[in-house]
Symmetry: C2
């Protein structure tokens, strides 16, 4: 999101140059707004802006810039300048930036970073993408069981500036095993000489570092937590995931699903800001695949060309019949895909889903088949030729009903099959299902039609 008025003011002040004006303008902005205002500046201008504010604020603003801007700015700057910035950045954000850089650039930067930070970065870099480990930060406060409440508050006071949150504090034993949680609210309410070990809530809900980020988001959202602790495979605390990062994941995953369900594929930089050639490549490859699959409708129809030549009216109902399958399939696929994404169902429920969708497909098929029957029975004589009116109506009604049932069933099953195969069920998109059902719909339609009319 850009903020053009502020950007223009910033650029004018940089050109004069009026460094005091820039500082005082930035003082009035939230870091999010400052980053938005910087977005339309040149890389060198952003560096000049950053040089005018304290390092903590530089790090906050830089963390919020779009990832391509971050990469360009780092590549253009002195490694010493960058290493100072990296040391001040939130631990999760700096790793996200480093992941975008060429390995050679990272290898050049790391030796300049303090040893503690370097170790922390190496540690966070190892987690697979989209895992809890990749999402978490190590800027958390871990309290020891033997601290008193007063001691813990004093400890938090010292750690407050360098931690993402001091509101949820996790308690660990001498071996870093996660044993409890104490919120700042608990600390404020407790007697100052009470021990953390006695005050803490021992029932901590945690996630594993290798869990998928969608599951992490689901857990945190379910409980309404500010943060959720991340543990390794033996239960030692390795990081925390905070609510704001989860919010980003939820929006990102919903976008990814929505775009996949519309056969687009993810757009890393958003509509209109992604380069034309990238968008074309993504969209064209999807459409070409669907088009290639849809070519099979021609082959299927060619198989029935004698029937079409003999009974031309049959061809007039082809789009109607096959689109019924596409629409009912898209509907079922959307419902099942979303229910999978929300964790309401899993592929293990497939029997229940099949039963539900067979019943639903029958009910929907009878509904649409009846409309199709009525409409076909009203076919004008000029179009009908010598085809018996009621036979035609019966063929259309039956074909619509069967194709609707078939589409519903395929639409419901494809996302489950995809999930089982390890493919994102959102790829079972409306166009994908429609194309799949179009081809088979032609065969169903002509099988029914030729058995009555030829």
């Amino acid at each position: 999101m850009r903020d053009d008025t502020v950007s223009t003011r910033l650029r004018t002040m940089l050109a004069q140059p009026d460094p005091a004006g820039v500082s005082s303008l930035l003082d009035q902005l939230h870091a999010v707004e400052a980053a938005a205002a910087c977005e339309s500046l040149a890389d060198s201008e952003i560096w000049r802006v950053l040089d005018l504010v304290p390092i903590e604020r530089q790090a906050a603003i830089f963390s919020l810039l779009p990832s391509p801007t971050q990469v360009e700015m780092i590549s253009a700057a002195e490694p010493d300048r960058v290493s100072v910035l990296l040391e001040a950045m939130p631990h999760d954000d700096r790793v996200d930036v480093l992941k975008q850089l060429e390995p050679a650039v990272v290898d050049g930067l790391l030796p300049l970073v303090s040893q503690t930070d370097r170790q922390d970065i190496r540690n966070l870099l190892q987690y697979p993408e989209d895992s809890a480990g990749a999402l978490m930060t190590t800027d958390y406060v871990a309290l020891r069981v033997e601290l008193t409440v007063a001691g813990a508050i004093e400890f938090l006071r010292q750690k407050a500036r360098a931690s993402e949150t001091i509101y949820y504090n996790y308690v660990v034993d001498g071996q870093q095993y996660l044993v409890g949680i104490v919120s700042l609210r608990d600390l404020i309410l407790a007697e100052s000489d009470m021990l953390i070990g006695d005050l803490m809530n021992r029932k901590v809900i945690a996630v594993q570092a290798d869990q998928d980020q969608e599951q992490v988001a689901r857990e945190l959202a379910r409980f309404g937590f500010l943060a959720i602790p991340v543990v390794d495979d033996v239960g030692r605390l390795v990081g925390i995931v905070t609510h704001d990062d989860v919010m980003d994941v939820v929006v990102e995953e919903a976008t990814e699903d929505a775009l996949r369900m519309g056969s687009v594929g993810a757009m890393p930089q958003g509509y209109l800001s992604t380069p034309f050639a990238t968008v074309w490549r993504k969209r064209a490859s999807w459409l070409a695949c669907l088009f290639a699959a849809e070519l099979l409708t021609f082959s299927a129809l060619a198989h029935y060309q004698d029937a079409i030549a003999a009974v031309v009216v049959l061809s007039l109902f082809v789009p109607l019949c096959i689109s019924t399958g596409g629409n009912s399939g898209a509907q079922a696929a959307t419902l099942v895909t979303r229910a999978l994404a929300l964790g309401e169902i899993s592929p293990a429920d497939w029997r229940r889903i099949v039963r539900h969708e067979v019943a639903m497909g029958l009910a929907l098929g009878i509904t649409l088949g009846t409309i199709g029957f009525v409409r076909a029975s009203l076919t004008p004589l000029s179009v009908l030729g010598d085809v018996p009116r009621w036979t035609l109506a019966f063929v259309i009604g039956q074909a619509v009903a069967v194709i609707c049932l078939w589409g519903t069933l395929i639409g419901a099953m494809l996302p489950l099959v995809f999930r089982r195969l390890g493919v994102d069920p959102a790829f079972a998109s409306s166009p994908f299902v429609a194309t799949f059902v179009d081809v088979t719909g032609v065969v169903i339609y002509f099988t029914i039609a030729t058995s009555y009319l030829l």
Copy 2:
């Protein structure tokens, strides 16, 4: 989400009866887990479970039950029992419950609730659905500018149990005007005799009570806040919206959009738990509308029946040509709908979007048209009859390209038109766009075909 093992244990303990067992089992559960375990119990069993725990915990668990269960439980219970529960519930959650009840039931309950709570409920009930006012809670702590830090911490200590958060605290003047924000982190770090008026951050980002909840979610997510203050039209603080409620909104809106984009319509209770008849009604009405629109493909084709009778091969390419429009349209509609939902574009950008999509539609059309040309040029002689091969190939290539451009443009424009008309752009779903483009695609295809081949 249900938890069947715990439910079974609860039910067994209730049957014995073993009240001590129930209490100690509930002590080990988070309120979210306790509510999940209660979901599969009968209403009377849930009341018996609630009676075994303190009132604050009753209120927490009850708030997390599904809305239909809450309504049934209230209808079956003594009003006195319910009023005690309502007084202990979070202010936003109890209003959500009351909104689901018959007005007569609410009128019977309100006189039993304490006057302060009654006034608060009446006040919150007045906000329109999906507004910031309907989403907000009044369980917040407002600090006065003239307090000292030590005084504020003492005040928070007293208010902590009855407030949704004490981490973000809003500062008001004597007339309740919002003038600043102080976080608990700021308070912990500050000198104890400092005045709140000097410590507070005066730049508070707030939302208006009548703003749409999607905008509220976007603001809170953008800044990564724990909560955002809600003000009336003159700037007086009336409530706060917390991060967990926004998370629910984000998930809810993404689900609503996803289902609309798949032509399903919102399912209030989730897949498999919504009653069959409700699901059938929603799905059948969508499919019937699309089917009725798709009937026009028959009328359009009937118009060209002489051309089809004369050149049968033309009818074999109909599904291929029209599906191209549906797929490219679905793609463009998805991209534009999602970009609108994320606030990346607005209907005012329509010129830029048209330019982008015309260029993209041409690029995609040429890609697919080329494939169509090649495939049509390979039509076997037996199917081709006396139709000139290269003319047919040229007709198909050109029709595919034009329909692809047309579909792309319609798909991109429909969501913008819908938004402008005040309709959710997500209704410009893949099946909707496909159906619209199918009908017009038939006309485009035969206009091109008949001009070359007849």
